[in-house]
């Protein structure tokens, strides 16, 4: 039996009819067409599907769409302000922290959740924040540098 739900994603409300077994990941990709968030392992172990839910980084593959309710969801598409990229996106590009790009949206969302809570994180805190985001390409160093740099940029604004 499908359930009527309303999701708030990137500031906009969406009314949807969904089966309970559909995850937030399924719904944002297939029903909302927001394919920036990636499906990797689908079991909460790779972080490719990381989105921010009420300020906290979560694996969208482990949240049922029917569970979300009024919580505010932010995906990678919600980061940039029209043509202007978010400092995290700029920093990732600048530091070569993007190779195949598959981990990137999830990685950036984990970083954003961190910076919103800790604007001046130490390296250990950055590593902890992205520990749930696997990258097969970069070796993580450029990603950590990018996050440090974005944190600095945001603090200077």
């Amino acid at each position: 039996m499908k359930h009527q739900i309303r999701l708030n994603v990137n500031g906009a409300d969406y009314d949807l009819l969904v089966e309970p077994r559909k995850t937030l990941l399924d719904v944002i990709r297939n029903d909302l067409g927001l394919i920036g968030t990636k499906k990797g392992c689908n079991t909460g172990e790779c972080g490719a599907c990381t989105v921010i839910m009420d300020g906290k980084a979560v694996n969208a593959c482990l949240v049922l769409a029917v569970q979300v309710k009024e919580k505010k969801i932010m995906t990678i598409e919600g980061l940039a302000e029209s043509e202007k990229l978010h400092p995290l996106q700029e920093a990732f590009i600048h530091h070569g922290a993007i190779q195949c790009g598959y981990c990137t949206p999830g990685m950036i969302m984990s970083a954003k959740a961190l910076l919103d809570k800790k604007p001046n994180p130490e390296e250990g805190e950055i590593k902890e924040a992205i520990a749930g985001n696997l990258c097969r390409c970069t070796g993580y160093l450029s990603i950590i540098e990018a996050i440090k740099s974005a944190a600095k940029t945001e603090r200077s604004v």
Binding site: M1, T43, G44, K56, A57, L62, L64, V66, E128
Partner: protein
């Protein structure tokens, strides 16, 4: 996942009646970080999911000098990790919470879920058992309090019957001059299930030289998290020295009952129990 019907009770009472009515074909959904994975891997296919996260008042962490710590079963692992009360007064639990999964998982996973899922390697179990925790279980007709060390009955199994729900975890106030340490041994630093998890909590005499009381809890090396009772007994009231340490570590290892699985052999786990009990006690003595 196979299709299922979904309910969102708004009160404990509603949840309990639902669970009773659905007669064991329902699973409780809280954080979902274990349940949904099992369902996706088709290990289980419950016909109904009862989401209890909407029930108010079950997610609080409270402390009083008189009663100690009360943790609502719906408190997330991140709540435990962020709690200043826990970090200051029960640091062993803070450490255990930090070891669980990843930030994304900790943000939604609940302590009640970690316990009720009852993995032999449940991250919060050894620390909570070492702290002398108890579980408050309610049903429509009654409520009872069970010591956490008696809560687990087998891998994935607890004393909970159909129509019963874990609502709170109590941790008594710690005796003064208590120290505790939790070590998790795993291949990767993060995002790993423990090969061995060791929690040691001791209460020292006035001068801090000998143990008035000690608890040693082994995780991931038996069908359930368990206390190494014989090891505790020989250490209790004694002054710790190298030979006692060896004996305590050896006995702890004897009391473990690990299996060989994809992560490690039983032999390796038994050896690691020795290594990590020693390390944990040494670390605790230095705190």
């Amino acid at each position: 996942m196979k299709p299922f019907d979904y309910f969102e009770p708004q009160s404990i009472d509603e949840a309990l009646s639902l669970l009773k009515k659905l007669r064991g074909e329902a699973k409780v959904l809280a954080g979902g970080t274990d349940l949904l994975v099992q369902m996706k891997q088709r290990n289980i296919a419950p016909k109904y999911l009862v989401n209890i996260k909407g029930i108010p008042g079950l997610d609080r962490i409270r402390y009083s000098e008189k009663e100690g710590l009360t943790i609502g079963s719906l408190a997330t692992i991140a709540d435990l990790e962020d709690s200043l009360i826990i970090r200051e007064r029960y640091p062993i639990l803070h450490t255990a919470a930090r070891e669980l999964g990843t930030q994304q998982v900790r943000n939604v996973a609940t302590v009640g879920g970690n316990l009720c899922n009852a993995s032999p390697a449940a991250e919060t179990a050894p620390a909570l058992i070492a702290l002398g925790a108890s579980a408050k279980i309610v049903s429509r007709s009654k409520e009872k309090v069970v010591k956490l060390e008696d809560f687990f009955t087998g891998p994935g199994e607890t004393v909970l019957k159909t129509g019963e729900m874990l609502v709170e975890i109590y941790v008594p106030k710690l005796a003064s001059n208590s120290k505790g340490v939790y070590f998790k041994h795993a291949f990767r630093k993060k995002l790993e299930t423990a090969i061995v998890g060791i929690a040691v909590l001791a209460n020292f005499n006035g001068k801090g030289e000998s143990f008035k009381d000690i608890r040693i809890v082994l995780g991931a090396v038996a069908p359930t998290p368990k206390r190494a009772l014989r090891a505790e007994e020989i250490a209790r009231g004694k002054r710790m020295d190298e030979s006692l340490l060896e004996e305590v570590a050896f006995l702890s290892s004897e009391e473990s009952n690990p299996i060989t699985d994809v992560r490690a052999t039983a032999e390796y786990r038994r050896e690691m129990v020795k290594v990590f009990v020693k390390r944990a006690i040494k670390e605790m003595m230095n705190l």
